[in-house]
Symmetry: C2
């Protein structure tokens, strides 16, 4: 166990991958960042990310909240209102993600479109 910790400490890319290397985390962060107000309700996110199932969105948000990248605010109303936003740490990550997006834009032509769509 101690060597696993050491390996992770020594290799920051593994921290990145383990925190949001899954299929939906990056997209959640990106979508929250794109929002005008910086705050989005659960179903609002769901509509923006229509190809992500409700279960996976819920799970991904929970994970991001635990990693302190996303803030979750519950308003005890009926129907319930739950608002999600980026934490300061989450915001600090966005420039790196933006760099990735810029790369994707620039090199889009270098790959075949059908490979992207599975």
């Amino acid at each position: 166990m101690a060597d696993i910790k050491a390996a992770y400490l020594a290799c920051p890319i593994r921290q990145v991958i383990s925190r949001f290397g899954d299929k939906w985390s990056l997209l959640v962060l990106y979508t929250l960042n794109e929002s005008d107000t910086g705050v989005m309700r659960f179903n609002e996110l769901r509509r923006q990310m229509s190809d992500c199932s409700q279960k996976m969105l819920s799970q991904t948000l929970k994970n991001l909240e635990q990693n302190n990248l996303v803030h979750r605010e519950v308003y005890p109303e009926v129907p319930p209102r739950v608002e999600y936003s980026l934490t300061p740490i989450g915001k600090s990550l966005m420039p790196s993600i933006t760099a990735l997006i810029a790369w994707a834009k620039e090199h889009f032509d270098d790959v075949v479109i059908h490979q992207i769509i599975i």
Copy 2:
């Protein structure tokens, strides 16, 4: 199908995610980039990424090759020699990944270690 294409075209982050949003791709790119010569053989990669199974490494490399991020050179010797290296496009991606790593280093203390190790 046409709308799926349009959605992907309109949202470059999805291109990034669909190309190397899986568990091992980023780590392969990173490991290749860290190598002194820039060239690594299959089992050399495997030793560096000991927690990735042979099958997944093989699959990941095949995928990266199809996306033109990794070059695969086969030497018809016995025992076979297969060398992997980053393509120019693969190399062009590294600054963005390095930015992610720098972010991880800086914000490491903001998350709890046990969350990283699953």
